[in-house]
């Protein structure tokens, strides 16, 4: 009995003395990941207590900027991807620290590492790759003998069949403008194609190209297949509606899967890339690096923080991350859960990612007015509400981006 008491006392002392590492994030869904990381580290003989705190995504950036400048920030933060104004500013002001000397990055591809590299140094361990596209309820596709569409017209036909049978074809969270921009962008990579986006980036074409307006028009015509009153619905509404079968398809990202499964473990979800216009065109997916786990200048427990970051760069972390969040880990060699959907998503990420994009990770969102914040976010809502035409949306994009984007300025002789 006395031995047990002594053992307990020693154990308590060890726990009390364990180093603490504070981590802040905008991803509340990762809380369980850090609990498991803590356990794994303990198994490896590293007594590190991880305190994970999540903040609302809309407040997160301001929160860490203030905290890190006043010395009240955590050891580690989730940082936004590079290139990007916010992360770059944090690095330039010494609030994020390079970790090349501590972490082995051999498990990451060069493409992924670009999103954490600034002036030749690496600021953080990338954690996830996001794949967006159309997710569908397999039960409805089976019931009405529908096949994944290969062309845009086939997609419209599927929507028609579903609607005719009393099923809402698409649930679109129109209240959240960013989700509509994402919808436009994921359709763009397949319908317009990466070659067209490359031409746009190089200044060989512009937003007044009939192809861009045609995509706006197609999206606008698709709205008859969205749920009634879709402009008043949020992503929370969408998650619930899709999980419980109130709609057959959603334009969304793989990060939604965790939530749908939590809400309804029985749901069977399938995925397809937005189909192109014709069968001879190859479909593409919008794939982007989400962010990184970064060491801050406020670090109080450097030794243990480095241990945590080192672990984040291992396939083991990727396995934990994928099993809990169903996201694709950025680190190679991780074991992805044996779920057909995730296997398909990994294949899409490896073989069908569009090399050119015009949303997150593109040049068109790096300055003001931005294609994302100033044009497509309000513009898509206005178009869907019938306040502007597809042509007007193209004109706005042209007018906004030609204010600062040199290749477009040159093309227009500005």
């Amino acid at each position: 009995m006395r031995k047990l008491v002594v053992l307990m006392a020693i154990l308590l002392c060890v726990v009390a003395l364990a180093g603490e590492v504070n981590i802040w994030s905008w991803r509340s869904q990762d809380a369980e990941v850090w609990k498991q990381v803590e356990q794994e580290l303990r198994k490896m003989g590293k007594d590190i207590k991880i305190n994970f705190t999540a903040f609302a995504p809309t407040e997160y950036d301001a929160k860490i900027a203030v905290a890190l400048q006043t010395g009240t920030g955590p050891d580690i933060v989730y940082s936004r991807r590079l290139p990007g104004g916010r992360t770059q500013t944090m690095i330039e002001n010494g609030l994020y620290l390079p970790i090349d000397e501590y972490v082995d990055f051999s498990n990451f591809s060069e493409t992924i590492l670009k999103s954490v590299t600034f002036q030749g140094k690496r600021y953080g361990v990338p954690f996830a790759v996001q794949v967006v596209g159309i997710f569908y309820n397999k039960e409805y596709f089976d019931r009405f003998k529908l096949k994944e569409p290969e062309t845009w017209d086939e997609l419209v036909e599927i929507a028609k069949t579903l609607k005719k049978n009393g099923i809402t074809p698409f649930f679109v969270p129109g209240k959240e403008a960013w989700a509509l921009t994402m919808q436009h962008a994921m359709c763009g990579v397949s319908v317009l194609g990466p070659e067209w986006i490359k031409k746009l980036t190089d200044g060989e074409t512009d937003f007044l190209d009939p192809k861009f307006t045609d995509l706006n028009r197609r999206l606008n015509e698709l709205k008859v297949y969205y749920q009634d009153g879709f402009l008043a619905n949020s992503t929370t509404d969408m998650d619930a509606a899709f999980a419980f079968g109130q709609a057959a398809m959603v334009f969304y990202g793989i990060w939604g899967y965790q939530n749908w499964k939590n809400l309804n473990p029985d749901i069977e979800v399938g995925y397809f890339m937005v189909p192109p216009l014709t069968k001879d065109q190859k479909p593409y997916a919008y794939v982007y690096m989400d962010g990184a786990i970064t060491l801050t200048s406020n670090v109080k427990n450097l030794k243990d923080s480095i241990e945590v970051l080192k672990f984040c760069a291992t396939p083991k972390f990727g396995t934990i991350f994928a099993n809990i969040t169903y996201n694709i880990p950025a680190v190679s060699g991780a074991e992805i859960p044996k779920i057909p959907l995730l296997e398909e998503i990994v294949d899409v990420y490896l073989n069908h990612a569009s090399p050119y994009v015009y949303w997150v990770g593109s040049v068109f969102v790096t300055q003001k007015p931005s294609l994302y914040d100033d044009v497509l976010s309000p513009g898509m809502q206005e178009m869907y509400a019938g306040k502007i035409t597809p042509e007007e949306l193209s004109r706005r994009a042209q007018e906004a981006i030609s204010q600062w984007y040199e290749p477009l300025k040159k093309r227009l002789g500005k």
Partner: protein
């Protein structure tokens, strides 16, 4: 000796006031002359932020929000004071059940705003919301709509929820003013043959008018500081496409960023707060002046 005593009692409050009101105010004013991304050095830009706010591309966003604030004030005042007076008059007439109704009408005031936002977002949900389902039930399906997603109804919906939440406060204040009217006046009017409508319009209303004036100023200040209700109902994006935007949400987006924020600069955000301050400050002084004058009169 006397001055020293006064100072002793005033100083703690003055220190707190200076620290939490005067200092942030002056700091915001100073910041409005700088460009600052929230991190790193502040760059002095003089009046550039104000120029951008009033004449630059940012002005469209600011004036759109400014006119929404004015609209908010006009509609809120008409509803809060109009309904407030009507309900207060009925409560003052001591009908059966007035005590219960007085509590009921004040209850929404006690619900935390986050819950109000959550609750009304559910009520107004186009598919499962109580409002649309009720309209369908009573045969008014044509009136059902996506209240917070329709540009023609989104802002009005927020104003109505705001009215629902705060009405109790206005009812209580107006009721207190009505109960302060000497009963002899009303009794004499009854004896002279005046009916309820005449009493309301010729006696009660003129006598509660000074209270209305005070409440109107409070409503004006509140309307230009409104943020929380819009934030809770349509978020920081103030959608659909800024149709519910007010200066408070413009400030929040500009200063703190977030998804879909077109302009992000703490200095520009500070310029927006200075703009709000210059609108609200004169009315606040007038309010203090009126309250003091009434206190002196009593």
């Amino acid at each position: 000796m006397k001055t020293r005593h006064v100072l002793f009692f005033v100083l703690p409050a003055l220190a707190l006031y200076s620290l939490f009101v005067v200092y942030p105010l002056l700091d915001s004013l100073t910041l409005s002359f700088y460009s600052w991304k929230g991190v790193g050095p502040k760059v002095f830009v003089g009046l550039k932020n104000f120029k951008e706010m009033f004449f630059g591309s940012f002005s469209k966003e600011v004036f759109n929000a400014f006119f929404h604030n004015i609209y908010f004030f006009v509609v809120t005042s008409a509803l809060e004071l109009g309904l407030g007076f009507l309900i207060a008059f009925l409560l003052a007439s001591k009908l059966r059940g007035t005590k219960i109704f007085r509590t009921v009408v004040y209850m929404p005031n006690m619900i935390p705003l986050v819950i109000v936002g959550f609750m009304w977002n559910l009520f107004l949900n186009p598919q499962i919301g109580l409002v649309n389902n009720f309209l369908k039930l009573v045969g008014l399906k044509s009136l059902a709509r996506p209240w917070l997603g329709d540009p023609s109804t989104a802002f009005l919906s927020i104003i109505l929820v705001n009215t629902w939440r705060h009405l109790g406060f206005y009812v209580l204040v107006i009721l207190a003013a009505i109960l302060n009217i000497p009963p002899d006046l009303i009794e004499a009017a009854y004896i002279d043959g005046a009916n309820n409508r005449k009493i309301a319009s010729k006696i009660v209303f003129p006598l509660v008018l000074p209270t209305f004036r005070t409440l109107l100023i409070l409503l004006f200040i509140g309307s230009f500081n409104v943020f929380d209700m819009v934030y809770a109902m349509t978020g920081v994006q103030a959608g659909p496409f800024r149709k519910t935007d007010v200066l408070g949400t413009v400030f929040y987006r500009t200063a703190f960023g977030g998804l879909g924020s077109a302009y992000t600069d703490m200095g520009l955000g500070a310029a927006v707060t200075v703009f709000i301050f210059t609108i609200v400050m004169p009315l606040s002084i007038l309010y203090v002046f009126l309250v003091e004058r009434r206190e002196r009169a009593w």
